[in-house]
């Protein structure tokens, strides 16, 4: 499933989508950057509350498909411009982390 298809299926709000056709390989959760650095995987849809530029750097270094800001994390314009520059997709959900991850998981499972 691509990031674009995920948006269509789940209704997640697209904040910055430089690579809409990027394939998603699974869902990942965590807010501690060092853990994400070692456990985050290529193609992941990373659900987090960390709406900052460092999240973009971590997503880029671990080659994730997209960052999904959950719990209605405040939009950060600096983060979004960095995401655009580094070609990292950023989506947003007002739901908590678990519900957001579950809806992505279900969308992937039923794809």
């Amino acid at each position: 499933m691509t990031v674009n298809e995920l948006i269509e299926k789940t209704g997640l709000e697209p904040l910055c989508i430089p690579c809409p056709e990027r394939e998603i390989s699974g869902v990942y959760n965590c807010d501690l950057m060092s853990v994400v650095m070692s456990k985050g995987f290529s193609g992941a849809a990373w659900v987090t509350i960390m709406a900052n530029i460092n999240a973009v750097a971590v997503a880029s270094l671990t080659d994730m498909a997209c960052i999904v800001l959950s719990e209605g994390a405040a939009k950060d314009e600096v983060m979004l411009s960095k995401a655009k520059a580094q070609e990292i997709n950023v989506l947003m959900s007002c739901e908590p982390i678990f519900e957001t991850s579950l809806s992505i998981y279900n969308a992937l499972k039923n794809a």
Partner: protein, 139 residues
Amino acid sequence: MSNLVLKYTVDNEDFTRAGEASSDVKKKLKMMGVPPEAVRKVAIAMYEGEINMVIHADGGEITVEITPTQIVMVLKDKGPGITDIEKAMQAGYSTASENIRALGFGAGMGLPNMKKYSDEMDIDTVIGVGTTVTMKVNI
């Protein structure tokens, strides 16, 4: 063929640029056809090092040397030095401030991750003078 040497300056307290050096190295290694697992190891080890330099040492200099068999990263700072290396190497131990933790760092996994993802790591630290961390990743 001579080895490729890359040099970077890590600014102090500049979280907006933290990760740029590792991103650049990752991009170059990928373009050179270095195996993905080695690229991943370098990216993680170097990013953790870069973040450490920003958090603890007012920045510093990073030199990356790419040879046909390994990637050697030397991270040199003029920070306060590490008082207790053994403690600093323990997962979960951190001296980072609350505002650093709020950004998702300071979990006490920086140095352990650097060691885990490099094939060889050496720390040379002098209190009040600075720290030089050398990490090697085999290709």
